[in-house]
């Protein structure tokens, strides 16, 4: 039996052990959904490199890590620890999820804006069954093994609903923190975000860690935008450098809705983000922005699918990578234009900046077009800082180090600059420059 097979068998058998406990307080309809999910996982298994979607990303180490999918006992993270994790300027107005479970006592947000509902998914199952049940029951369009695993083991996560025609001014900020007790465990947060007709919101999903040992965040988020709704979804992945982070996000867009995602990946030994956006109705606008900055031995992987299934849809995708140390980046972005999706306008671009000699990138932007009246473009680049730009800055008196810092920051700024809301953007700017500073210091020390 290979390591991958052994790990798969381990998770399937752990499901049998945990099934009764998982059922616990959940409504009866959830049990068959979980069972179907573990069956799907049993069928798909841990992917090998022969699987096209996993060609450049190995899960062998993850399989070997022998992690337990049963969530840890509650550890009671303190508010001070949350504040330290977030940094002084951004400690207010966060909804905190500890090892995947909603922790109302840690959540500093005092009052909810009108029209916004936020609670733990577990607590919302009964009241919002009509909304949640079909989403949990939906077959994964992309056949992702770890999304299936999440479906089997998920217990809680965030449930966010923004009521029709409301527009909360502040971003809705969700923090997923792995506690010390997450060591050796898999945490499976399941999030559902529903923006009702004509509403407009910004939702932040931030992943951070207090855990000193290996753990695995295996998150699944489902987003539904009603007609003419608008959402900026900001993902900030700041897991520890020995953690595994796999995240799937599914987006379903109704007529004339506008979705923009901003995925910032900074942490994790292995961090993989999978986004599947289905443009199911006419006149939909979808923007996928991403920025990954890795160094050391980090491996970061972004897999995105934009599925144009209706006419007059627009999508723009820009993922930028900055890679130092011996890190490895993977980008696999596919844009699919189905036969009915006439007048589609799709752009996709993945530029990468290598700041060390040993970093590497595998990038594969793909377009599959089955309609004839469309405008589509795609491309990717892998390069270094522009020598002419470097010389220009130096010729004005800036030393090499400052010039490099400025140009690298400028490369990232296109993604960071598109993030709405000034305080949020500043928070991310600070995280990005701290990460770039670390990458550069490592380079200079080498």
């Amino acid at each position: 039996m290979t390591t991958l097979d052994a790990a798969q068998a381990h998770f399937v058998s752990r499901f049998a052990d945990c099934e009764a406990g998982l059922a616990g307080a959940s409504p009866a309809w959830l049990a068959p959904i979980r069972r179907a999910a573990i069956e799907r996982f049993a069928k798909l298994g841990f992917p090998t490199r022969k699987n096209e979607a996993w060609k450049y990303t190995s899960v062998a180490d993850l399989a070997k890590a022998d992690l337990d999918p049963e969530p840890p006992a509650r550890e009671r993270v303190s508010r001070d620890e949350i504040r330290t994790l977030l940094g002084e300027q951004s400690s207010e107005d966060w909804f905190v999820f500890e090892d995947g479970r909603f922790a109302p006592k840690l959540s500093c947000a005092q009052t909810l804006p009108t029209g916004v509902e936020i609670e733990g998914l577990a607590g919302a199952l009964d009241e919002h069954a009509d909304l949640i049940r079909p989403l949990l029951d939906r077959a994964d369009p992309a056949d992702r093994p770890f999304a299936a695993l999440n479906g089997a083991f998920q217990r809680d996560g965030a449930f966010v609903r923004v009521a029709a025609d409301t527009a909360p001014q502040q971003p809705i900020q969700l923090l997923f923190v792995s506690s010390r007790a997450a060591a050796g465990r898999v945490v499976n947060p399941r999030n559902i975000i529903r923006i009702d007709r004509g509403a407009k919101a910004t939702v932040v999903l931030r992943y951070g860690s207090l855990c000193l040992d290996v753990y695995w965040t295996n998150a699944m988020t489902q987003v539904v935008l009603g007609e003419n709704a608008e959402l900026d979804l900001v993902g900030i992945e700041t897991e520890s450098d020995i953690a595994y982070h796999l995240s799937s996000i599914d987006i379903r867009q109704e007529r004339d809705s506008r979705f923009r995602s901003h995925q910032i990946s900074l942490g994790g030994a292995l961090a993989r983000s999978e986004i599947y956006a289905r443009l199911d109705a006419p006149g939909v606008d979808c923007v996928l922005n991403g920025l990954y900055i890795v160094d050391g031995e980090q491996h970061v992987d972004n897999q995105t699918t934009i599925d144009h299934a209706s006419p007059h849809g627009t999508s723009r995708e820009l993922y930028k990578g900055i890679l130092g140390g011996r890190s490895h980046g993977v980008f696999n972005g596919s844009v699919l234009v189905r036969p009915d999706a006439q007048k589609t306008n799709a752009r996709q671009f993945n530029p990468n900046l290598l700041i060390s000699d040993d970093a590497q990138v595998n990038t594969k932007p793909t377009l599959e077009i089955c309609a004839d009246d469309v405008k589509c473009s795609h491309g990717s680049t892998v390069g270094r800082l522009d020598d002419d730009a470097l010389f220009y800055l130096r010729a004005r008196g800036l030393d090499v180090r400052s010039a490099r810092t400025i140009l690298t920051g400028a490369f990232a700024s296109e993604i960071v600059g598109a993030i709405p809301q000034q305080p949020l953007r500043e928070q991310i700017e600070a995280l990005v420059s701290a990460k770039l500073e670390r990458s550069r210091a490592a380079l200079e020390a080498a």
């Binding site: 010389f391 220009y392 004005r396 090499v400 400052s402 400028a410 296109e414």
Partner: protein
Amino acid sequence: MGKRTPMLEIRGLRARAGGTEILKGLDLVVGTGEVHAIMGPNGSGKSTLANVLAGRPTVEVTAGSVLYQGRDLLPLAPEDRAKEGIFLAFQYPVEIPGVSNSYFMKAALNAVRTHRGEEELDGMDFLAFARQKMKLVEFDEALLNRAINEGFSGGEKKRNEILQMAILEPRLAVLDETDSGLDIDALQVVARGVNALRSPERSAIVITHYQRLLDYVVPDYVHVLADGRIAHSGGRELAQELEKKGYSWLEVAPAEAAAP
């Protein structure tokens, strides 16, 4: 006065770029307070000379010496040359998306000021200072907040170079075909920028393809560069002669013509 250390003293300079020898034993002395014009046909080495002075890494100096204010210039990094007062106005200014012009100029000015032992300027003081200079070169303040040269017209890029020069107040300004592609109004702006810096303490090397600029920036000396060497030197009247006759009469016998 003759004993005064020249601003720049180039002896036997040879330099390669892209595997080809471009400068083939160039001699040039620029006195302090002087403005020298360098003219010459395409490919004669004008831009290579400018790049050697600014320290562009892709140009390799293989022989000769360059003394700047009596000190060996060649070992200095480009940023150190800038801090010591050398300024190159680029023939093709680079577009740098994501870096605002004002941030860049303030960082550059403060790097230079720190080197001179002056206090750094904060945002307010910088803006006040920059506004005076923008007025001088008729620079649209809106461009100050845009990314460096991004989407600028050719004329705006050249004005941006002159604005940077006005802000950094160099001791030796080297203008690499700054007048190329400019209309007469923009040309006068460039000239005003250069003339404003003229003083007994500062020098300038104005590289140009056209005699026109020299009607507004009147040089003390004019040199003709041909095949990597100074082929001919003279006063300002040489520029007018070149305008009438072209370069061919000089290229016939560059060796004899070079003799002073």
